[in-house]
Amino acid sequence: MVRKVVTWVDDRLGASRFTRDVLAKVFPDHWSFLLGEIALYCFVILVLTGVFLSFFFEPSVAESVYRGEYEPLQGVVVSDAYRSVMDLSFEVRAGMVMRQIHHWAALVFLAAIVVHLVRIFFTGAYRRPREINWMIGLTLLTLAMFNGFTGYSLPDDLLSGTGLRIAYSIALSIPVIGTWMAFLVFGGEFPAEQIINRLFVIHIFIIPVLIAGLLTAHMALIWRQKHTQFPGGRRREENVVGERLWPTYAAKSMGLFFGVFGILALLGGLVQINPIWLYGPFKPAQVPSPAQPDWYMGWLEGALRLFPAWEITTFGYEIPNPFFPAVLLPGITFTLLYLWPFLEAFFTSDHKPHHLLDRPRDRPMRTALGTATLSFYFILFAAASNDLLAKWLRVPVENVVVAYQILAFALPLATGLGTYLIAKSLTKREAEPPGAAPETARTS
């Protein structure tokens, strides 16, 4: 009977051939190819926990007196957004752990995307024909950052309110269109009434839908263009060596999903994140210290802290200071990232398709550029917590800033040069068979 139904369906849809092809699809295996999958599963968990949170969140800045469980807030006037997140944390069953898993998942999501990007970069996986997927990936990174920031701002607490205020002043700093842009996004002078409501729609609907769509495209392209693989063994430009989707790869992937979920649940259950009850509700007149954004925005905050207080005037118009570190720098960063596959093809005159990956040491120039760039952004990121460092070292904040300003130039140079030399010496050592006498010894 079952068989009859199955054949009936198959006759009409031709599903079995399709399924057979799908299940027999081969995936190369190397652990680093699973980094993107970690990001994917973080996204799934973000959606699951996010749906739960959205049942309880109230996107409104209308104010009322807090009368909830958290004693030290009794009688304080708070916005509905803040109160609903407090209730979620202290009164809703499993609310605290859901909130914490959601936030941890967001932090790890972005970390996984960045490491995935770094892997793609260092192995040259973005080369023809995969330039489009590289750009889709970058768009996903940008969207994830924006969504992280909007989510971080939703509870309307003092810390994130300060972040929004900074975002507002950054928008204002854009020449010519700044004021107009800021008003368009925020719906008026900061802190505008509509902002939490707008952020909510962006955070739970617009950006997640875009991410889901682009993720589908990202994976469809991997499917269509096949995955890259490392050279060696039977692996050639024209074949794919690895495990079939069913059962091996699927089993591994399921295992990974539960592993990722388990690790995030452990973090969410055991490690406190974003204690908004300590930060208190947002009040326009207050600024907390130390105020930092989530880590993926840290490089922008760091750039703001390191950029000197210069006043730069062009065409008789003074460009507000935040424009350079907070608009120009990310603008240049992402433009170069988007163009990178084409830039590299242009400079190396290599326009051929590639399905085999590079080992980083075989491309010393690219690898050196990569590590130098990473160290630059790492310094910017570290500079976002200069006040904490100053406190631990018991030195004036100004000195820490100067030290970071110097490091922002010196460290990339040093790491770039060091990487280049190490890569060269590694390939040189491989070229000589082990035990062979070095060239110089033979001539004597």
Partner: protein
């Protein structure tokens, strides 16, 4: 692969080190040991003052080249009690930084010194405050704390580094760092004294600023804030998004990478 694993191990070790350091660095590194001079014998205020304080602050608290005048700022015996019970005074040498340490005096000796200062020295200003936390309102204390204290001591109570104001960047500033300490060790009485006396660069919040009830409420809130209880779990020293980012990388993502290294071992074909 080996190099890579070693690199990961190093990163994890360094990261774990930073987290641990971050969680414990607010605690005093080593207990301060009283200098060799035996000080803890007398319980007479005058003897103690003349022997331990006068050589820097003068016999009439008028100040010397080694220590400031104690009457000028008019911050009263509240300030004297504060510096003694937080172990900030006496210094061993005039250039020693003034920091919280284990006090070298017993409570009896502190009381004797405070009494001496009150009765025999021309010190004016707030007296050692009496607290009555039964009247306190936590919510009120919370709001007053956020408005008046959080900018320096952080809303989490961990303290912070205070910038030198809007001056342009000097190459390397020789000034001592201006730090607002964390509040985890202050007793309720010390909190009230700090508020009334405004030690160091902290502003004075006199009776014109806060009523007795407001003072009690802030003290009560600081006590609550600094309880080691964190409803969300381990607080990582409460250093906020910074340590959260570090944990996301060093715990979350690192564990996941170990997981994929385990399930995604490279085929040898």
């Amino acid at each position: 692969m080996k190099v890579f694993m070693t690199a990961i191990a190093v990163v994890v070790a360094v990261g774990a080190g930073i987290i641990v350091w971050n969680a414990y660095s607010d605690r005093p590194a080593e207990p301060w040991l009283p200098p060799a001079v035996v000080r803890s014998d007398s319980t007479d205020g005058k003897t103690l003052y003349m022997r331990d304080c006068a050589w820097c602050h003068g016999a009439e608290a008028q100040g010397t080249g080694r220590g400031p005048n104690l009457t000028e700022r008019a911050n009263g015996t509240a300030h004297i009690d504060y510096v003694l019970s937080t172990g900030r005074m006496p210094l061993d040498s005039p250039d020693q930084p003034m920091q919280r340490r284990t006090p070298i005096y017993t409570q009896e000796q502190i009381d004797a010194l405070v009494q001496y200062a009150e009765q025999q020295l021309p010190i004016t200003g707030p007296a050692v405050p009496e607290l009555n936390t039964t009247e306190a309102d936590l919510g009120l204390g919370n709001q007053l704390y956020q408005v008046n204290c959080a900018a320096c001591h952080a809303s989490t109570g961990i303290g912070g580094a205070l910038g030198g104001g809007g001056e342009s960047l000097p190459l390397i500033s020789r000034k001592a760092a201006i730090l607002a300490p964390d509040l985890f060790e202050a007793t309720p009485k010390e909190v009230a004294e700090a508020i009334l006396a405004g030690p160091g660069t902290m502003p004075v919040f006199g009776p014109e600023t806060f009523t007795q009830r407001e003072l009690d409420s802030i003290v009560d809130y600081v006590g609550r804030l600094t309880e080691p209880h964190n409803p969300g779990g381990w607080s990582m020293g409460r250093t906020g998004p910074w340590s959260e980012g570090a944990a996301a990388w060093l715990i979350g993502l690192t564990l996941m990478i170990i997981l994929i290294m385990w399930i995604g071992t490279r085929s040898t074909e």
